[in-house]
Amino acid sequence: MNGGMDELYREVILDHHRRPRGQQPLPGPADARAEGKNPSCGDELLLELACAGEAITAAHVACHGCAIATASGSILAELVPGRTPEQARALAEAFREAMHSPDGALPDSLDPGDLEVLTGVRKFPARVKCALLPWITLLSALEARDGKAAGLPATTEA
């Protein structure tokens, strides 16, 4: 592919887009929940989390968006279960930071998995929002759960 498309549409990303994880509804009621949207292009995302004890046990992601947003949501669904809310938040924040930094590195200590690949999107400024949408929504779901916010829809423009 030319024009840097091979960097944007890496095989890993295309795979997540083709078979997104986290599609299946949660078994029970959600313990945390948020909607996210990208007002400038209309992308929408619903995120629901199930928690048990200290950890997030499952994530359900319903994404109406492009391949990048869908793949990012799928990676989230893959990475978040098993982490504590604190760890999930740290990962989301590290990712947001990486997407706005020149080298885009994510610390290995956070065990970033396929998210590492997604940082390549930062070279396409117009798509950064797409990649961030699920993670911004995650932050807002966690905040709502902590009772810090009124559960307003998250937006990538804020």
């Binding site: 030319n2 549409y9 492009c66 391949a67």
Partner: protein, 429 residues
């Protein structure tokens, strides 16, 4: 396919180098006059198919703006010095030129920042003339610019906003008009050409009915001025707005044209210098129309440049430009259709559409489509195109849109079609 036959081309105009066999109407392509089109994108020739968002500018427009800053720059109206007189002449000359282009006296042309500002001026300016329960009739295919200002006005003044729905064929459901247009309807606001469906609405017909009912008619001509033949009087409306930047002109400039009596009904929305008559610390009175609506220093540079855009259009003749856009649109519809598996929005007949086509590929999200086309140098727009309610009606959150200007040729559409094939291949479709 064989090369396009071109009409006799003025100097500096190259014939359409498209590939379509049915290009007899096509006429010349004015690409050479647009310096930006010489650039490459991702190592490829730029294929600019986003003119509905903003058109490219002829070199003459760019030069006119620079010439203004190099020779005549001054504030207008208030000055007695030579530069001030020259700047005022250029500014008022633009107003008169727009008036001639639309068939109106200069005094009925208000200079604004763009179509959006002009629509806000009308909606806000009518506020004092409306009372709770009054109705505004719009359409389901409006750009947010001709929708949100009316929702805001309704919220503030207790009005009711109704809308003409869109049929599955992408046209206004005119059968609903008798029921929607009633004795309480004060304003009918609608787009001339939809920026998503391409549909050309029967504005004059709707306006005649509306005006018989005593409603004011506001036409959003952002997608039609400079693209199809249009005279203010023929539309039978009270107000018409458009943006210079979508009409081969500079950014930061737009116009509100209106019937004199209709303009007199508007209360000024922006206030400040230039638009007043007498000001005390307690109250102010307004200048005459059109100055009343032009608070503060206007964009003189853009006004000085815009006539060169209208000259370019007049030289090509709007009839020929229209035929050219019909020809491009027909070709685009045909090739997109032939591609298979694409949803194409709006009327099937190119002669009933403006020069744009929105489509949706269930295999490739519009953002990805736009991104992959861009990697080949093809610039299309993806998203809701500031028409969220219409997209909801169409059942999608976003579409891809290719839109045409006088500089496009048939081979630009070939590049689009090839690019769609490439995008599909990336997604394994």
């Amino acid at each position: 396919m064989k090369r396009a036959k071109s009409l006799a081309a003025p100097a500096g105009v190259k014939p359409c180098d498209g590939q379509a066999g049915d290009c007899t109407h096509c006429g010349p392509v004015f690409g050479e006059r647009f310096p930006l089109l010489e650039r490459t994108v991702n190592g490829r020739r730029l294929v600019y198919l986003d003119s509905a968002a903003t058109t490219q500018k002829p070199g003459a427009v760019i030069a006119a703006e620079a010439r203004y800053y190099r020779l005549h720059n001054a504030n207008v109206h208030r000055g007695m010095h030579t530069l001030g007189v020259e700047a005022t002449d250029l500014y008022e000359g633009c107003r008169a030129r727009v008036g001639r282009f639309l068939g109106l006296p200069a005094e009925q042309v208000v200079v604004t920042r763009g179509a959006t500002s002009a629509l806000n001026l009308v909606a806000g300016g009518l506020a004092p003339t409306l009372k709770p329960g009054d109705e505004i009739l719009i359409t389901e295919m409006e750009h947010h610019a001709n929708l949100v200002p009316w929702l805001e006005l309704a919220r503030r003044e207790g009005l009711v906003v109704r809308h003409i729905p869109v049929t599955d064929g992408g046209e206004l459901e005119l059968a609903r008009l008798p029921e929607l247009l009633n004795g309480r309807t004060r304003v009918v606001a609608l787009t001339h050409v939809s920026n998503v469906l391409g549909t050309i609405n029967p504005v004059a017909e709707i306006a005649a009915l509306a005006r018989r009912r005593g409603a004011l008619v506001v036409v959003d001509a952002a997608q039609s001025v400079g693209h199809l033949p249009l005279a203010f009087d023929d539309l039978d409306c009270d107000f018409l707005v458009f943006s210079a930047h979508k009409t081969y002109g500079p950014m930061g400039l737009g116009f509100l044209a209106g019937r004199a009596e209709a303009l007199e009904r508007l209360h000024p929305v922006e206030t400040g210098g230039e638009m007043i008559e007498t000001v005390t610390m307690e109250s102010a009175t307004w200048a005459a129309i059109p100055q009343r609506f032009e608070a503060g220093t206007p964009n003189v540079a853009a006004a000085a440049a815009f006539p060169a855009a209208l000259d370019t259009i007049d030289e090509a003749t709007i009839e020929r430009l229209r035929q050219h856009e019909i020809s491009l649109t027909a070709y685009a519809l045909e090739r997109l259709q032939a591609k298979g598996g694409l949803t194409i929005y709006g009327p099937r007949d190119a002669a009933r559409r403006g020069g744009l086509v929105a489509f949706h590929d269930p295999m490739v999200h519009p953002h990805d489509m736009a991104q992959l086309l861009d990697s080949l140098g093809v610039a299309v727009r993806a998203g809701h195109h500031c028409a969220q309610p219409l997209h909801r009606r169409l059942g999608v959150v976003a579409t891809s849109r290719a839109s045409f200007g006088m500089y496009n040729a048939h081979d630009d559409i070939d590049a689009l079609i090839d690019g769609i094939g490439y995008a599909r291949s990336v997604f394994g479709a």
